[in-house]
């Protein structure tokens, strides 16, 4: 009996958090038109979440592309279809690995930074101080960070994917000797605008989800050192889980 009740209670609290987060998102969306006018604040956050994640995204993209080519080559060579390597690598990167891995890296690099920064501002009363100066922290602190993340994510995904394809080319063509012409032409013959759209669409959705979770967890953190620590952990876990679930849903919907 008590197990059932506990399950029920945790389900209710899950629903409450979900609802709270949805309302939070609604507020952010409502503030967005005026928030975009404060261009400088948003640019600053695009820098914090995007530009500062550039190196980790590029290195990860390169190696994901390289290992993909290595595995793909091994598999395709069994069917004498090494020429399909370009297609395989490009489709895997554009549709799945690019958006998903970038979102996971984003959660670890930018998401935790956002959550802990906002959480610390709360713990050190900076948010209260803003409220007392008649400045809404939702607009001044949370919104620019959210928008920065939403803008940065698709760009990060594009960079990750492009570098990944470069990595696949490096391993497939330069190291394994796949014909360069068929590598590219097969890719071009089989990748269509629909696939690019799927990747971009995913990156936008993941950008919204990952940024929302990070700023939400930061803003709702208990204003203590422990609370901020928990908020960053929750950010990573929640982002990872929801990105993977969303990924499945989008893939299924677009098939």
């Amino acid at each position: 009996m008590s197990v059932l009740r506990e399950l029920g209670e945790s389900f209710v609290s899950f629903l409450r958090i979900l609802g709270d987060m949805a309302l939070f998102l609604l507020r952010l969306v409502m503030y967005t038109p005026r928030g975009l006018l404060r261009f400088r604040l948003v640019v600053h956050q695009v820098h914090n979440t995007g530009a500062l994640s550039l190196v980790i995204i590029m290195i990860s993209g390169l190696f994901v592309g390289m290992v993909l080519a290595l595995q793909g080559f091994d598999l395709l060579a069994r069917f004498n279809s090494e020429d399909a390597l370009g297609t395989a690598a490009a489709l895997a990167l554009i549709k799945e690995l690019g958006p998903v891995v970038t979102a996971l890296l984003f959660a670890g690099r930018a998401g935790t930074a956002l959550a802990s920064e906002i959480g610390l501002m709360k713990a050190t009363e900076q948010l209260s101080a803003m409220e007392m100066m008649a400045v809404d922290p939702m607009r001044r602190v949370v919104l620019p960070r959210f928008l920065g993340g939403v803008i940065a994510m698709p760009l990060l995904v594009a960079i990750f994917t492009a570098i990944g394809i470069f990595g696949a080319w490096l391993v497939g063509v330069v190291m394994m000797g796949v014909d360069a012409g068929s590598f590219w032409s097969q890719m071009q013959a089989n990748v269509s605008g629909d696939e690019i759209f799927e990747g971009v669409f995913k990156s936008v959705v993941f950008g919204i989800a990952a940024s929302l979770i990070a700023v939400y967890e930061g803003y709702r953190a208990w204003p203590t050192a422990e609370g901020v620590g928990r908020a960053t952990t929750r950010t990573v876990v929640l982002t990872a889980v929801s990105v993977l679930i969303l990924d499945y849903m989008i893939t299924a919907a677009l098939l």
Binding site: L54, L155, I159, A189, V200
Partner: protein, 157 residues
């Protein structure tokens, strides 16, 4: 001020790289590049069976992509498939008795149209039809024919 300048520079670099990457993905990895928007002419061909041919599949000659499949329709009168190809205007000296075959790129590759050069002195022009065609080889038909032959040989023994 020094600090804001680095921020702007870093952000600028980041956005620039992102846009370049997106541009690369949309133009270099997909079949949108090349002559699709440029000068081109259309020819048609009829096939009894197109197999897995799709629109935007390449049209090649001697292995070089010279165009793409633009449309595939079923002709209810003649009960076959009518394929419209869009061929790059640069290649305007293809004999009008050339042969069009539906081929498969590798075991896992997609299907494409290969043109085999004919001997005519007249060239294909916009709106022409290629009469000599070879349909896609459907693996099931091939296998059943092979099995049929085998069993006949068995009976002959």
């Amino acid at each position: 001020m020094q600090q804001t300048r680095t921020v702007e520079l870093g952000t600028g670099l980041f956005v620039f790289l992102g846009v370049v990457a997106l541009f690369f993905l949309t133009t270099q990895t997909t079949g949108f590049s090349g002559f699709m928007g440029g000068d081109a002419y259309r020819v048609t061909a009829r096939f009894d069976n197109i197999g897995g041919l799709t629109t935007r599949a390449p049209v090649t000659m001697a292995g070089v992509t010279i165009g793409r499949v633009e449309a595939i329709e079923f002709d209810p009168e003649r009960l076959n498939a009518r394929v419209t190809m869009r061929i790059d205007g640069r290649y305007d000296q293809i004999p009008d008795d050339s042969e069009a075959s539906i081929l498969t790129a590798g075991l896992l590759g997609g299907q494409y149209i290969g043109l085999g050069a004919g001997g005519s002195f007249d060239n294909l022009r916009d709106g022409d039809e290629i009469y000599l065609t070879q349909s896609a080889i459907v693996l099931e038909n091939l296998i059943s024919r092979f099995l049929f032959q085998q069993s006949q040989e068995d009976q002959d023994d």
